[in-house]
Symmetry: C2
């Protein structure tokens, strides 16, 4: 019953030893919530689950990788860390550094990060540099700095980050007793899709973890060439198809080239030249999945649906996974197929309250008068 | 390993049956984090733990009570719920109602709730009424409404709320194998101190849950009349002293009379006439604890300490518990005594990003120039 973070739970799958000092805020162990209202809304005969990563300590999945990166930095004697960030990495790096007593600096694109995330980095005592430039320029410059100064890079190009993040796939298999058939996930810097795929492969190899073999999936004929998965794995399905989604104004992998000025309201995935581009393509190809894109209005629609139907409030970028599921709903024939689908929702809605306020109905201001209130709430 | 919320875990201690439909977002099971940096900072020879309730699904402890209140409302055939709120209850009621398909209305004091909380209630589709009045007036009016209309009250005067909230005490005992010696907690509407005390008493009666008996506590002589606890319980300490803290501009229990215009930056506890006033006093008296107050500047100091020393970002009201610990640090002689202390921090810092931005150093805006960045981060 007692949970003490992902390193404690999944130690045997992670590059740690007895000498690694564990810096943790008890990240991970996040809910995998069945989304029955969404299933009804989409009229599917499949099980949809939401991996609600907003319930990590700093409100995003980044904490899984950060407990690893900061613990290893301390083990290796580092005194300072740095990252470029659209906000969530900065918040996480700042929090774990505070706990570890490390000096933390974060470089963010000026004017492009959500209010909540900025407040976190500042409160946790990080040195916050707002760069006149975008995320890709920020990442380039921090990589350059860490090559020349004694400061540890904690972006997801730090391999310990990916190691920590892969534990989300372990938790899904532990919860379901199997891997899902499809895994939908937002794609920004592309570290997370890389990490999940690594996690699924490693855990599925540990056969004891899989209690249920998936049944053979039925595909509509015209898509069997597109997603020819039963052929790939014979009669069982031990690994999911990785279904990654970028925002259409910020979709370098989909378009096959870096985007110089990425644009999207989904600030967490507003990245024009992803660090894990190649590994994301490998995950897509090995899993016979897709990396596709969704528009900002599709993202906002999914964002509102999650909050109003399921009680799950996420930041806009998180909803790219569910927007992708809605887009592929008819293509992958999940209405009839009895699939198990997981959508990762990467960060809490509280990260970006301004967007929520803009996206919802404004409150009515009233005098303390019962009749007026009853009339307003339309009981 | 598989966790599915407080009702699933603590069913035998809760008023539910097989017929109760469980509405859950997998709330509870929040971290109890050892605060070693805070221990060093305060120079105590005691163990300090933070019960980080901001890691609930909507970012506050309210979710524990709301899973109970909404599940029972559905069981009883209710179609609509209402609450008055300084923000956290509204967010939680709105989220659980969305998941249950209930209609939810919330009445908030106009202009007095933090941005994040407002965004939550709106996104989850609640009818939000901003009342020209304070929380106490809002509570009065929703109680009046529920007496006359078919709508269920989900404020903490609904007894199921307290039942759910008491599970936080269960988790603490499960984690520590014992009850703490002192439990510090913010006091607003006073439902939470009531709930913890109920939880401690019920769980401590179930002797199997207590693996370790606390040793006799040593008190400085001049305080033995103030907190005469060893005498109360003989040689063992199976229950904590409940140490509740109000904000000094909003401290009706401390001052012994309702406060007409409560004032504090800690909006979550800005309440002038607490619904659970009497029960909070009972918890204080039965536990030989205290209900005292801390100033806004003491609250802000604790708020900043938690973020910068421990990596734990809370909303200002949450820090009232730690501000109380700092205030009582010398009085209860924990420097030498080897006590176990738990501080509940009730809500996530992301609930109130504006306050954080105001409380921290602003970022430096720089061109992408390595030398300038290195100089700014003072490596």
């Amino acid at each position: 019953m007692i949970y003490k973070g992902i390193i404690d739970r999944y130690r045997k799958y992670l590059p740690v030893s007895d000498k690694t000092p564990i810096v943790t805020l008890y990240e991970g162990n996040t809910p995998l919530l069945r989304a029955r209202n969404l299933e009804k809304f989409l009229k599917v005969n499949s099980e949809i689950y939401l991996k609600f990563e907003g319930m990590n300590p700093t409100g995003s999945f980044k904490d899984r990788g950060m407990t690893m990166a900061i613990s290893k930095a301390v083990e290796e004697g580092s005194k300072a860390v740095i990252c470029a960030s659209t906000g969530n990495t900065a918040a996480s790096a700042a929090a774990y550094s505070a706990r570890a007593g490390l000096k933390c600096s974060v470089v963010i694109p000026d004017g492009s990060i959500a209010l909540g995330k900025l407040s976190q980095a500042m409160m946790h005592g990080a040195k916050v540099i707002a760069l006149k430039g975008n995320f890709d320029e920020a990442l380039k410059i921090v990589i350059e700095i860490t090559k020349n100064y004694p400061i540890t890079l904690v972006n997801s190009v730090n391999p310990y980050r990916i190691e920590g993040q892969k534990t989300a796939a372990f938790e899904i298999i532990d919860f379901l007793g199997r891997a899902p058939d499809y895994h939908f996930i937002p794609v920004g810097n592309a570290g997370n899709i890389t990490a999940y795929w690594k996690g699924y492969k490693e855990y599925a190899n540990d056969k004891s973890k899989l209690k249920v073999k998936s049944k053979r999936l039925k595909l509509s004929p015209n898509l069997s060439t597109f997603l020819p998965f039963p052929a790939r794995r014979g009669e069982t399905c031990n690994l999911p198809h990785m279904m990654g989604f970028q925002a259409s104004g910020s979709a370098p992998i989909v378009k096959g080239k870096p985007i110089k000025n990425p644009k999207t309201i989904a600030t967490a995935i507003k990245i024009g030249n992803p660090a894990s581009w190649k590994k994301a393509e490998e995950a897509r190809d090995e899993s016979k999945g897709v990396i596709d894109m969704v528009t900002d209005s599709e993202i906002i629609k999914a964002y509102r649906l999650l909050a109003s139907l399921e009680g799950v409030f996420v930041e806009p970028a998180s909803a790219a996974s569910v927007a992708g599921l809605i887009k592929f709903n008819s293509k992958i024939n999940i209405q009839k197929s009895g699939c198990v689908i997981v959508c990762t929702v990467t960060g809490h809605g509280l990260k970006d309250p301004d967007r929520a306020i803009k996206s919802a109905k404004q409150p009515k201001v009233l005098e303390p008068n019962i009749k007026k209130i009853i009339s307003a709430i339309e009981l």
